[in-house]
């Protein structure tokens, strides 16, 4: 193992350039550790985002050697065989500064896809019992593990080509709610995901599935939404 990593980091907004730094190589070092070293030891003006450092909060995603990744759980040894790293902001999102992207549009699309839970019960009712082996619960076993990191959104060509496209994360979220028997808003939700830029704009590339750090398969969730919306349409439940 060499004792130095050569890392190029994006500096600036949409206009900017990659600046190269040298960082000491350590055992079990993550990509986030490398970025943190640069900010703490070399240039405190470097901007980036993280919180939990253990793969829970979803705030640390960046483009690492050309691929979107969660940086706190990505070991340098896994992605930089020759001790070289290129770290940029996530693709398909406006850059605020350096490695921090503006996630507004990403989360607005969650709202557009009716990604908000609409309860059927009130706090005075008993808590619903969902059987772990119920078909609808099994269908979303993986999908509910989303940490909103935006990696899939950055990996999706359809997002890049079509600014209206809701994207894999928002549609995956809608799929979890469509299968939630406690939710009351599926009529509107199905209409929202069937509208222009909805689930039918997905080309089934599976980049989202390939890159999702939680091993979720948004493509499968979107295919589920395609089936549900068509079923609702054929039954005359949707215009």
């Amino acid at each position: 193992m060499d004792d130095v990593i050569t890392v190029s980091i994006w500096r600036g907004r949409s206009e900017g350039r990659y600046v190269t730094y040298e960082v000491p190589r350590l055992d079990s070092q993550t990509v986030l550790d490398v970025v943190t070293y640069v900010q703490r030891q070399v240039d405190p003006t470097l901007s980036y985002r993280f919180a939990c450092r253990v793969g829970v909060c979803g705030s640390c995603a960046m483009t690492v050697n050309g691929r979107p990744r969660w940086t706190c759980r990505t070991h340098v040894s896994k992605v930089a065989a020759d001790n070289r790293l290129e770290i940029g902001p996530l693709a398909n999102l406006p850059v605020v500064k350096d490695l921090a992207t503006d996630m507004t549009e990403f989360f607005e699309k969650w709202q557009r896809a009716k990604g908000v839970f609409s309860p059927t019960a009130t706090r005075n009712d008993t808590v619903a019992q969902i059987r772990p082996d119920a078909a609808a619960r099994v269908a979303v076993d993986k999908a509910i593990e989303c940490i909103n990191c935006g990696v899939c959104y950055a990996a999706c060509d359809s997002v890049r080509w079509n600014p209206d496209y809701l994207g894999p994360a928002a549609l995956n979220r809608a799929w979890t709610l469509v299968n939630d028997e406690r939710d009351a808003n599926n009529g509107e939700r199905l209409a929202a995901v069937a509208a222009n830029g909805g689930c039918h704009s997905c080309h089934t590339h599976q980049s989202c599935e390939q890159h999702c750090p939680q091993a979720i398969n948004p493509t499968a969730s979107i295919a589920g939404l395609k089936r549900r919306t068509i079923g609702a349409f054929l039954r005359g439940e949707m215009k």
Binding site: S158, W161, N162, A194, A195, N196, G198, H200, S201, K226, T229, I230, F233, M238
Partner: protein
């Protein structure tokens, strides 16, 4: 793409599968059995069955192809909204006219 277009494209694709198989079988049969152009035309001219078969085929191709071109244009060109719809209709009608002309030549 919207739900209706998506559905229409899948339905036309499914309907075309047996028609494509039959079309290929006809091509292979016609070329292997050594039929001349005149003999082929002798069998197709005035045939209601062949007119219906290839007429339907042309219709399905036009709808399916036009929706596909709209999708490609939506992703790869700046066209949006009505312009996409216009492209889809013009392309579909063009395909239909070309196809109808060919069907007419073989059956009419």
């Amino acid at each position: 793409m919207t739900l209706r277009l998506y559905l229409l494209q899948r339905v036309t694709a499914a309907l075309m599968v047996p028609l494509i198989a039959a079309h290929l079988a006809v091509i292979i049969y016609a070329s292997h059995s050594g039929l001349s152009a005149a003999e082929i035309l002798g069998r197709t001219r005035g045939s209601v069955g062949w007119a219906a078969f290839y007429g339907l085929f042309v219709l399905l191709v036009s709808v399916h192809g036009a929706i596909g071109v709209r999708s490609v244009a939506a992703d790869w060109t700046p066209l949006r909204g009505r312009a996409l719809g216009a492209l889809m209709w013009v392309f579909g009608l063009l395909l239909f006219l070309l196809g109808a002309r060919a069907v007419h030549a073989v059956i009419g």
